[in-house]
Symmetry: C2
Subunit: 448 residues, 2 copies
Amino acid sequence: MTPQTAAKKHVDHIICARWVIPVRPRNLLHHHAMAVSEGRIVAIGPQEDILNAYTAAEVTTLNQHVLMPGFVNAHTHAAMTLMRGLADDLPLMTWLNEHIWPVEGRFVSPEFVRMGTELAIAEMLRGGTTTFNDMYFFPEAAALSAQDMGMRAHIGHVIIDFPTAYAANADACLQAAADLLPRLRQLPLIRQSLAPHAPYTVADAGLRGTRELAEAEQLPIHMHVHETAYEVDEALAQHGQRPLARLAALDLLNPRFLAVHMTQLDDSDLSLCRESGLHIAHCPESNLKLGSGIAPVARIRRQGIGLAIGTDGAASNNDLDMLGELRTAALLAKGISNDPTAFPAWEALEAATLGGAQAIGWGDRIGSLEIGKAADCIAISLDHPATFPVYDPVSQVAYCAGRDQITHVWVEGKIRISQGQAVDWETSALFRRAQEWVKRIRERDQNP
Amino acid sequence: MTPQTAAKKHVDHIICARWVIPVRPRNLLHHHAMAVSEGRIVAIGPQEDILNAYTAAEVTTLNQHVLMPGFVNAHTHAAMTLMRGLADDLPLMTWLNEHIWPVEGRFVSPEFVRMGTELAIAEMLRGGTTTFNDMYFFPEAAALSAQDMGMRAHIGHVIIDFPTAYAANADACLQAAADLLPRLRQLPLIRQSLAPHAPYTVADAGLRGTRELAEAEQLPIHMHVHETAYEVDEALAQHGQRPLARLAALDLLNPRFLAVHMTQLDDSDLSLCRESGLHIAHCPESNLKLGSGIAPVARIRRQGIGLAIGTDGAASNNDLDMLGELRTAALLAKGISNDPTAFPAWEALEAATLGGAQAIGWGDRIGSLEIGKAADCIAISLDHPATFPVYDPVSQVAYCAGRDQITHVWVEGKIRISQGQAVDWETSALFRRAQEWVKRIRERDQNP
């Protein structure tokens, strides 16, 4: 061993990439490399410098790729992947009353959630999502799926007034959450939140209980808010208050509150958002598909409100493709504001990564490629007819690249997708296991 | 040879697929097969029947695939692929004045058009588009690229008042078109149209000349109309007339007129569309990205007006992905009408195939899988985490499938893409040839 080599520090892995988009700082780096040890980012610098300073058990060279943080999908109902495409193009209440709710009523169980979440994870990891923020019944099943498949997840304990297969009422949901919290804290890839379903499905008592438990356990809150104009109108008729104002009066709004959808925002709502420091999860494709409304992203950004992007569940999107979702968000923000400078490529990438991490209180650990953060990252090959020529890699990722161009995905430094294929499971075997559920769901849906 | 075999009719190719979406009729067929001879569809029926009735030199079996017509991209400026991502997120006039027009002014030539169109074709064929409807300078170069690469194209002879590298004025454009028409008629995959650029760039004289030549030569007309509110307002100020009304007064509107964009449509415009029988090409992603406005698809469909879908050029989209474009169209139509039943999956697939074919007067030959039509078709594998489970293949194609799931593309029965790869060219060699152009364009853009 030469003295020079001896002086080098050893790391687990060095990734060299033609371009690195760390997201924070907002710089495009050329011919840089990242050193990773024990799942954390140790160094980022010009390839020569990194290769001179470190030796590694493994060196990955990505000459035609962008290296960037993995996507944080800020709103999912992962298990609903089992109901993807079951019933589309229907009026909202027909879709819910005649398809989604009857199937859920019949089948939802820990096993259903486990199976559906595994399918969702297979899709999400392959599409470059390394963390998802979930809200569904039987959260332990979702948490175990994520931990077992090596995906990071923020698991919401759902709270809802009406009886389901999961719990009898909001109190029972809160009790289930309190009971489960310590167990899920043992899972290293998992953090937790409380997830009151929506203002119209949780009465004040349940929301007060949510606030108390959230404060006691220092948990973020994840909730659908202002999804439709109907929701706001009904609340005004019933409570004489807009739903967000009611949540503010119940003292729920703060920087650990993530409001999902938010398609209806008047000036008073925007003030509440800004003053409370809450974050917004924008789900453009679900909102479009269900005709719910369109969140005013340009105005949200101008107010400095934290913005994340989510796909929502596969039953209402219908994919869990964050690259597609951030593109839709970037295009739609310009379209509805008649302003081609609104929500530019850099901001869309940031919302889909760091914005999501911050929205779920995980900005200390993920969402950007910075020293000390977890090596949750992806490589996107720009060697494809859809991304040629490359004048600007940031623009190519935001506006042209397809999920198929995502070649590598690492979570906490461990490779999960390599050359576009799952490393740890056979996708065909996953499908075979799911097929029995699919058959029963189809039968039930066709013979209610 | 047994008597039974002797009785079978011989065809070139039989394609067996798990699902067939012929588009017209609007039926989903299970386990069907299509027999193809000399580039034409000879028969479609249950696999057993087809295999009993025909022998073929080649049988392709697609057990997890949808077989459907190739997409018709109803509006492109293919050569602009060389400027993809050159300048994004800018105000419209900055983008045009400081980037697109200077680059075009410096470089546009038959060689530039040829190179840019080849790149566009490589992307479009791989994404399942089998026909594109183009409008750009030096149309012969685009036509030759398409014919040589085995893609079907409808080539518009651009007509514009102001001087360009291509022609001095509208008269010169019309003369160039008249001269070129007989030559391009020799190319079997090519048909032609006249393409007056827009109401605000062609004065009445040029439009009268366009109408005369179109009538004399029985050519369709392809034109940007009502792209922005600004265009309509300016026309009202200058001519006291909305642009579409002016075109109607000039007797240009009829079933062979394709109006592109049409984001601004009042009741009088919709009446003109309906009464004239013109077709509309909807380019949702370009319209969103440039903040141009949003075409009211639900109202257009309710009026029974022919609707096609186009990507526009790669400089303003930024991809040429028809699967993505039809999805954006389907989602956006619901979103802006607050109606989840608007523009359902079947209609979006139809607009992206048969709607496009009819819009360019080619509905007799392409756009659906019907006996006698050309075998312009694609296979989409649904064996992917994004399209599992398959309750409804039509919904999966419209709302979930990615362009990477398109495995096979045939134009006039000839295979162009197989297992996702181009059969006839090396994509890397294409990129290498283009790189010299890219370098010069980048230098020019950075040092104007």
